[in-house]
């Protein structure tokens, strides 16, 4: 919390009028031996400070690449990145690493999927927190240590003094993810990415970590992009949800609207694959039939058509555009959107 207050007081320039994050037609392709992988293929959205966006999709739909592409954390070579990412009005696509270093950790930060591999195994936890602090904020070693201590307590780590001197391998997965969160929020970033922050963790600690992220996001008035393959995770924790399929956003709506009025057959399929508490135990997990699309030679027309129960010839030849937002801010790309009646038979809670 002290880090955030330093940040606030040192920010002398008035907050600009531009929205915090404007992503426009962002594309990220990888050149591989087998061909061009269109991992992110024209994604647009706007995110304001204090708001949370959930990005949902199956494995391989491009969620991780999207967040890394926005942040500029992509491999150096064989990547084509186009479109626009504006952070407080500043264009980040094409920006030099020397500029990005000023944003990374300071303005935007990321909590990664696997806390077991995301911390440096040979560096003390305290050092890993203070390092970023001292990089961005002009503070003394002592001050940085005090801040790290405060950060560890604020992410719910008991005995923070002792923990600071430990190495990552001396901590549990949940503890490490708390440390990762402490590192991410250390400099008071305005935008926080959380890329499947609980997938690698025990079920029992998953909710705790998600709650922690939510409290931190609110307390620090950050914008957050929560990436997950589980619609259940984002249900109560996000303002808006973007559903991704084959590198594109296929449906986007405020969270409540999406759950009460979903329109895309893929969203429907995702939702019905969440196990329900009311299911008898040992019910087989439903998965979406068919394989995720090939990103090198995607199917023509609607990319979901090979797996879609409602697909027609039109779907297989013409790609549906993402509709303009309706009065609820609901957008989707489908020729034959799911109707209310069809949805109820699908068994939405």
């Amino acid at each position: 919390m002290s880090a955030a207050s330093i940040k606030e007081s040192s920010a002398t320039t008035p907050a600009s009028e531009a929205p915090l994050l404007v992503v426009n037609d962002l594309k990220t392709y990888f050149k591989t031996d087998r061909g061009l992988v269109r991992a992110v293929d024209g994604v647009s959205f706007t995110l304001e400070r204090g708001r949370t966006l959930g990005v949902v999709g199956e494995s391989g739909s491009g969620k991780t690449v999207l967040s890394r592409s926005i942040m500029g954390l992509l491999p150096k070579r064989d990547v084509e990145r186009s479109g626009s990412v504006k952070f407080e009005g500043v264009e980040l696509v094409g920006a030099d690493t020397s500029l990005m270093v000023e944003y990374w950790g300071d303005q935007m930060a990321m909590v990664f999927q696997d806390p077991m591999t995301s911390l440096n195994p040979v560096m003390r936890v305290g050092k890993q927190i203070t390092e970023g602090l001292r990089q961005h904020l002009d503070i003394s070693k002592d001050h940085a240590n005090q801040t790290a201590l405060a950060l560890l307590s604020s992410v719910g780590i008991p005995e923070p003094e002792r923990r600071l001197r430990q190495y990552p391998h001396e901590m549990s997965g949940g503890m490490r993810q708390r440390v990762m969160i402490a590192i991410a929020i250390a400099c008071g970033p305005k935008l926080l990415f959380a890329d499947e922050p609980t997938t690698a963790l025990d079920v029992t600690v998953q909710a705790q970590i998600l709650d922690l992220l939510q409290t931190q996001q609110r307390d620090r008035y950050m914008a957050m992009i929560l990436v997950t393959h589980d619609l259940g995770v984002v249900a109560g924790r996000t303002d808006e949800i973007a559903v991704m399929y084959a590198g594109k956003v296929v449906e986007k709506a405020p969270t409540k609207v999406l759950f009460s009025n979903l329109r895309h057959p893929y969203t429907e399929a995702l939702l019905s694959s969440i196990p329900k508490i009311s299911d008898p135990s040992h019910t087989r997990l439903k998965t979406i039939g068919g394989r995720p699309p090939n990103l090198i030679n995607p199917p023509s027309g609607c990319k979901f058509s090979p797996r879609c129960a409602y697909a027609t010839d039109k779907c297989r030849t013409e790609e549906p555009p993402l509709s303009a937002p309706d009065s609820d801010g609901h957008q989707f790309s489908c020729w034959f959107p799911v109707e209310l009646s069809a949805k109820q038979t699908a068994g939405v809670r």
Binding site: W104, S118, L119, M180
Partner: protein, 318 residues
């Protein structure tokens, strides 16, 4: 820790015993005998007397036992003919060899580490490919060839540096010492650079793919610091192991290089002792080298746990 230490020490003793015993056996298998080297024109009776004098008529085990008994008491034996004490020879020649090997190891690492780090970061670039090709060429070049080339061109033809360093008293004034040491050190260093650089490069490339490197990047840590503070340490365990094991190659190289340049180090003395069949002296030299080798690798074992806290933990549990 004390227990593992005792164990390590016992292992050191065992290694030294085995190595010296085998050397002793090998010297006995050599054709010819020291007595004919010392008094080639002596009569059969003179030779027999000398043999008794030197204890060469005793059984193999007894001879070995006697040498060992003296060695552990710090008496490294005498040369047969001159009666010169091996201790004094070691006192003057060991530091020279150590200096040579330390310099070689130091400069090899000093050059190889930055090369390994930067080529790994820029893997696949022109710079990387150029550096790799050069290293490959160096690897193919045995140190005696380098030594001879240096001696012929830099030493004899262009007369830039002295080729015969017989005269180095140790320690000489630093500048003179350097003019004598430079070529032997270069000859010994080149091949090692290649070995170390290629090792570090491949480990660094693997480390740079790790998630925690992305974490560091996402924190806004500058590239230089990521390379040197985050990636180098976890990438250096293999390098360290090989640097330790390589002391063996270094000793072998030192023997060659010392002979080419006439550096009065232990390597040169060993060659002389072999040719003159100075068994006790040879035995003691070999034993000292074995102790050196095992001690270095023992020290490296300890360094591991300094470099990687996970090893430290595993040990304290065990």
């Amino acid at each position: 820790m004390p227990r593992t230490f005792t164990l390590k020490f016992l292992r050191l003793v065992l290694v030294v015993l085995v190595v010296t015993f085998i050397t002793f056996g090998l010297t006995k298998l050599q054709p010819g005998d020291p007595v004919s080297k010392i008094i080639p024109f002596g009569t059969a009776q003179q030779k027999a007397e000398l043999r008794t004098d030197l204890g060469l008529d005793k059984p193999f085990i007894a001879q070995y036992g006697k040498w060992l008994g003296n060695f552990v008491q710090g008496d490294f034996g005498k040369y047969y003919d001159s009666k010169q004490s091996v201790n004094t020879v070691i006192k003057t020649s060991l530091p020279v060899s150590l200096e040579l090997m330390l310099y070689a190891q130091f400069f090899a690492l000093l050059i190889a580490i930055p090369l390994g780090v930067t080529t790994a970061y820029r893997a696949g670039s022109k710079y990387d490919r150029g550096a790799n090709a050069t290293m490959f060429a160096l690897l193919a070049l045995p140190n005696f060839v380098v030594a001879l080339l240096l001696a012929i061109y830099v030493g004899a033809k262009w007369q830039l540096l002295p080729t015969q360093s017989n005269v180095i008293p140790f320690p000489l004034n630093p500048l003179d010492n350097w003019t004598y040491m430079l070529m032997p050190v270069v000859a010994l260093t080149l091949g090692q650079i290649a070995v170390y650089m290629r090792l570090l490069r491949s480990d660094m490339i693997a480390t740079l793919q790790e998630d925690f490197i992305t974490t560091a990047k996402a924190k806004g840590i500058p590239t230089r610091r990521i390379l040197w503070r985050h990636a180098l340490r976890p990438s250096s365990l293999t390098l360290l192991t090989v640097a330790g094991l390589n002391v063996g190659a270094l000793i072998g190289g030192a023997i060659v290089v010392e002979n080419v340049f006439g550096v009065p180090g232990l390597g040169k003395r060993i060659t002389e002792a072999i040719l003159a069949k100075q068994y006790p002296a040879l035995q003691s030299y070999v034993a000292i080298i074995a102790i050196l080798y095992v001690t270095v690798n023992f020290a490296i074992d300890i360094l591991y746990s300094v470099l990687d806290p996970r090893i430290r933990n595993a040990r304290s549990v065990a």
